[in-house]
Amino acid sequence: MSDELDEIQAIFFEECVEGLAAAEAGLSAMADGDTSAETIASVFRAVHSIKGGSGAFGHAALLAFSHRFENVLDEVRAGRIAASTGVVKELLNAFDILSDHVTAAQEQSAPPSDDAMLAKLDEILATMGASVDGGAAPAPAQAATQAVAATESPAAPAVQTEEDEFGFTPVTAVIEDLDPFGFEPIAVSLDDLDAPVESNGDWTVRFGPSRDALANGGEPILIIRELERLGGRVVRVDSSALPSLREVDPEESYFVWYISVPGSIDKSEINECFDFVAPDSVVEIERAEQVVSGVPDPDLDLDAQAPEPQPEIPVVKAIEPPVAPASQPPLTLVESKPAAAVAPSAPKGEKGPEQASQTIRVELTKLDQLLNLVGELVIRGSILADRLSPADQERVELPQLSRLTRQIQDSVMSLRAQPIKQAFSRVPRMLRELSSETGKQVNLEVEGESTEVDKSVIEKIGDPLTHMIRNAVDHGIEKPDERVARGKPPCGSLRLSAEQKGARILVRVRDDGRGIDRERVRAKAVEKGIIAADAVLADEEIDQLICAPGFSTAETISNISGRGVGMDVVRSNVEALGGRVEIQSVPGEGTTFTMILPLTLAILDGMVVRLANQRFVLPLASVVESVRPEPGQVKAVSPTNEVIELRGNYLPVRRLTEFFGLQGVEPYEPEESLVIVVESDSAGLIGLMVDTIDDRREVVIKSLDQNLHPIRGLGGATILGDGSIALILDVEALVASPPPSTSKHSLKGLAA
């Protein structure tokens, strides 16, 4: 039981992570000036669902904070608080604390201190209300601002808009609607400012489902039943839009229902009934007044005080809160709703942009299992093909089967691919924290975040990315005054980009800071004993020194970087992934760090070669060319070392058969072999001598250390089409290893 709950709770936290990512994306867009309703709504929705889940699971602190956060967002969404730079900045800060709350709830640790933030949020709420409204004491800020919107809003234009949008004409309905309540327009006295609050009139709900709502199965009777459950009753149905029978479109929505709900029901409860109604439906909730002893409703005052309304307001306005004004002539009572303004205090359920990214969660191990099985299917398929007679092989079924199998394999592969956005998502927050710690201003640009990479790669580049960005901000980008002095804009720029290039993925972090100070790096490296004092190094080699273990030039060891582990970690992590790090730096203009990573850790484009009659796979990414040596092209330069002469250059050559100590084949002349020139990071171009090349194919990498242990020179194993195993060569390890010693038996039995 509790396990089950844990499981659900785990899903909640996963959703929180997604929600936080969505909220952050939205807030960042807002900070960049995109304050469209859609963006703001996405942030609101994300925070709202976190709030909802936290309540359900009893995370009180998270619930409390997200609730207050949501309140402010709600106001921003409704346009009552302008999404100004200052406000968005506070929202981002609040977001950071929200993330901390989620983490705290997940780890069951102490929640972060949020008092200051809460006070700030409340302040935003309070001040914005006051600034908009003339000071309507009894009504909360939103009521006041709402009143502004509602006041005198000319119903006719609004209805007009609606008519245009939805194709029905509720104008007459609007007016007739109020008749059952015996409403008469009242002259309002502006002096009656202190009249007691009296607003327990029944609600009038006007509900006109849109065509879309019906198309989506939004059965109106269900909504009406919900309202009836609250004590509502249908007072009338406006069927004026109904055309003559022959013109009736069976899919169109013609009716508008008027439901009266007792005034004792909270408005939010009514709103909830419409949670899942298509957003372009007409949903209006109004409080009808009971005009008691001639005392005008206090809300009138709000109206009276409110500034002139703008005719276009209804298009962006949400539904009134309980104390909404109701004293205007009946026309204004019914406020026409824009398409998007359904139930502001409730999430829109499954509707809206979120619909586009419906996902299910699958354990990675299950995917791997599926991948294995599909691989087996491919193998069995080709074995079957081999057993069939050539005539049968020609038949259409077999190629069809293999094509299908191939498609399944591709699909399974793509299941593991994820947009690199996941790894980039934590960068904005990190930058905000870095900026506040260092006092440097950094503007983040992100490019190519939808590039898809294997899940396992994404999981592993997080740390290197963190270090690279910290490094760029701490060492690269200058302080604002320093930047201005150098003629740069005060705000530094950090560019994060990802792109796919062949079977590799390039992740770049580029800053426009001061670049690498090669003099200092060199001096430091000499001081730390990393290089000799008289070493002659090219600029690139000096740049690479910052990746050397224990190297740091920061004068003071800051919180951020300078402990001398950062770039070392980057390099070792990236190399562990089969990638490499490149550094380009122009003094005074900036530095670019590039992580070059394999697209996937699961498949490899490989060249199948033979060594002593055994098949091996050479990663195609590192192959430059293959050469059949002419007599005399390969020369021995020492008893154990050979070189190949290639277009005037001499490249070292390794005999792989000897490297692996493979038996059974007598040493042969180089002319009988093939030399495959590979490019390696550590040794540049190098020739590898193999017997023959068999094939070129994509192979699924199976790790050897899953059941055995890593073997030097091998990157893993794969299963070929006939079910046999081929070993995958690890080019870096092959060229980095010392040349085979004179006794090849010493290699045999040497552990990794």
């Binding site: 059941n707 073997i711 030097r712 299963i719 046999s724 045999k748 552990a751």
Partner: protein
């Protein structure tokens, strides 16, 4: 032999290697396969015969006789690979012939005398099992089975020791 108590009773798979009978715990056994020449691995101890494909997973094949210090067994028609799971890792053991599955009682296991080996004792104990009527079986009274300690035989473990 008490068979009523479930605690203490277990099943072992017995097999022969160089004329001797060994046993491993039945629970570790995944499957028994026919001998098939595995893909040799370079630069590994000679007792690792190579790797084989077990339904998409690459598993090492270990010449058990060689691993235990006996003469390497020469694969023949009745040679088998016992695929076992040791601590979550899978490995195949080349054995000469699989004999039987027998229930034994923990109390029947006699501790193995200290055998002079260069590593942790791979023999977990000795147990006498009644021989079934089998051809080529010389002893009629019973067979001494050497129970193997799979943990000690783990391929990865051995690597850690030599590395």
């Amino acid at each position: 032999m008490t068979t009523t108590t479930d605690s203490g009773e277990r099943k072992i798979v017995t097999f022969s290697l160089s004329e001797k009978t060994f046993g491993i715990d039945m629970r570790a056994l995944i499957e028994i396969r026919e001998w098939e020449e595995p893909t040799p691995l370079p630069r590994v101890p000679s007792y690792i015969k190579g790797v084989a494909n077990l339904r998409g997973t690459v598993i090492p094949i270990v010449g058990l006789a060689e691993r235990l210090g006996w003469e390497p067994s020469v694969p023949h028609a009745r040679s088998c690979i016992l695929v076992v799971s040791i601590g979550g890792k899978q490995a195949g053991f080349l054995v000469d012939e699989v004999a039987d599955i027998v229930p034994i009682n923990d109390s029947d296991i006699k501790p193995a005398p200290e055998i002079e080996v260069d590593e942790k004792n791979v023999i977990a104990g000795l147990v006498q099992v009644a021989a079934r009527a089998q051809e080529n079986q010389e002893e009629q009274a019973g067979t001494m089975v050497l129970l193997l300690d799979l943990e000690a035989l783990s391929v990865t473990r051995q690597m850690e020791l030599t590395a």
